[in-house]
Symmetry: C2
Subunit: 224 residues, 2 copies
């Protein structure tokens, strides 16, 4: 069978990742500078167009690799952006992806075939972005706030475990408010997504802090 109706042609899929990190009380997102038209020399979220011979997951990972050199990052889809003119070239539907990594444990390329620069940007200091990427970024940050409550999305920030004070600070940063430490511990532990190691390490204080880690497999809560 062949597709003949011209209205069905010339549609593409953008896979666009908002990759966040949290550092010293600041949430940052990874942006790259484009070298190609359209939006040449503009900053943009990491991503690009899906190939017709790859699955979505493959596609977003390939795009992240091509534009940053980063491999092994977990991202998940959270929203669809479909306005007719969101791309000036041809009709493109964007699938928004969300991920979190530790800026200190990842190396990314400053330049690739399609980018001339890459960097972390604090959310209150975002330069003008290509396409509708600002809208996508805002939606992604909003989704991040939902996701950290009952998932292990922060696991990639702490592959080797974390202390309560430090992860509490991440929550406080993302939610932009302070949380009582006794209540935070009780709640966070009772979610059942973390477990005790028997190690200790230091965060900000002089007293060693207990090290926790995310459980490997988190069961997703069903409404029913």
């Amino acid at each position: 069978m062949k597709v003949n109706n011209p209205l069905y042609k010339k549609i593409g899929i953008h896979l666009i990742a908002s990759i966040f990190t949290v550092e010293k009380g600041i949430v940052k997102v990874l942006l790259v500078k484009r070298t190609n038209k359209p939006y040449k020399d503009k900053w943009a979220l990491v991503g690009g167009a899906l190939y017709n011979n790859e699955d979505l997951e493959e596609g977003i990972k390939r795009e992240i690799f091509e534009k940053t050199g980063i491999v092994g990052i977990d991202v998940s889809i959270f929203k669809v952006f479909g306005k007719i003119k969101r791309s000036p070239v041809q009709r493109m539907i964007a699938l928004g992806y969300l991920g979190v990594i530790d800026a200190n444990k990842v190396n990314f390329l400053k330049q690739t075939l399609k980018t001339s620069d890459a960097d972390w940007f604090a959310l209150d200091n975002i330069p003008p972005l290509a396409y509708d990427h600002k809208e996508i970024l805002d939606a992604a940050f909003n989704e991040l706030k939902n996701k950290i409550v009952e998932s292990n999305i922060l696991q990639s920030l702490y592959p080797n475990g974390f202390t309560m004070p430090e992860i509490q600070k991440v929550y406080e940063t993302i939610f932009n408010k302070t949380i009582d430490k006794r209540n935070f511990r009780k709640k966070f532990f009772s979610l059942g997504i973390i477990e005790d190691t028997n190690k200790y390490t230091k965060f900000e204080g002089t007293k060693p802090a207990k090290l926790y880690r995310f459980k490997k497999h988190i069961k997703i809560k069903n409404v029913l």
Copy 2:
């Protein structure tokens, strides 16, 4: 600018709606029988391919109209289905939509240019479906259970208001369990999405039941 990379071509978007109704304690979904290849003469969810000159919302409404004659139905996107071989014709990404209407207040066409039949099917009596529509339907029903908890998605079932006993029955049907009526009233009212009318009507009993209605503007929590 032109798109040259052949890997970017030959991708299309399916817009696929799972349209539910609830009747006499049974949840049903609207299916249509296809007259075109592929999956000729198979039952399918309502939907089709997006045109490159229409917004997503326009597209799904056009598809619903073309395949059923129904207008004015509200649907919202809930998930993306992107496996490479989900369509045998060419690469298609499906956007899954979800809606609810009252089967008694809507008329749909048994035949259209692209369908030879249409009907409501109880969820435990679904025929073999085209494409991956069974998977889409299952995901949609699951999403329906989430959505009815904190949205006015059932509004279309009751444009003129509803009584507590009748809407409780809808909840019990969808969740397939009984609910204490005192607790149901308290919870449902406290959600803040409905309001009192001062009318009364009859449901199953002889005693008139108070009529409630959904508030006009509820912000709906979308998963996607």
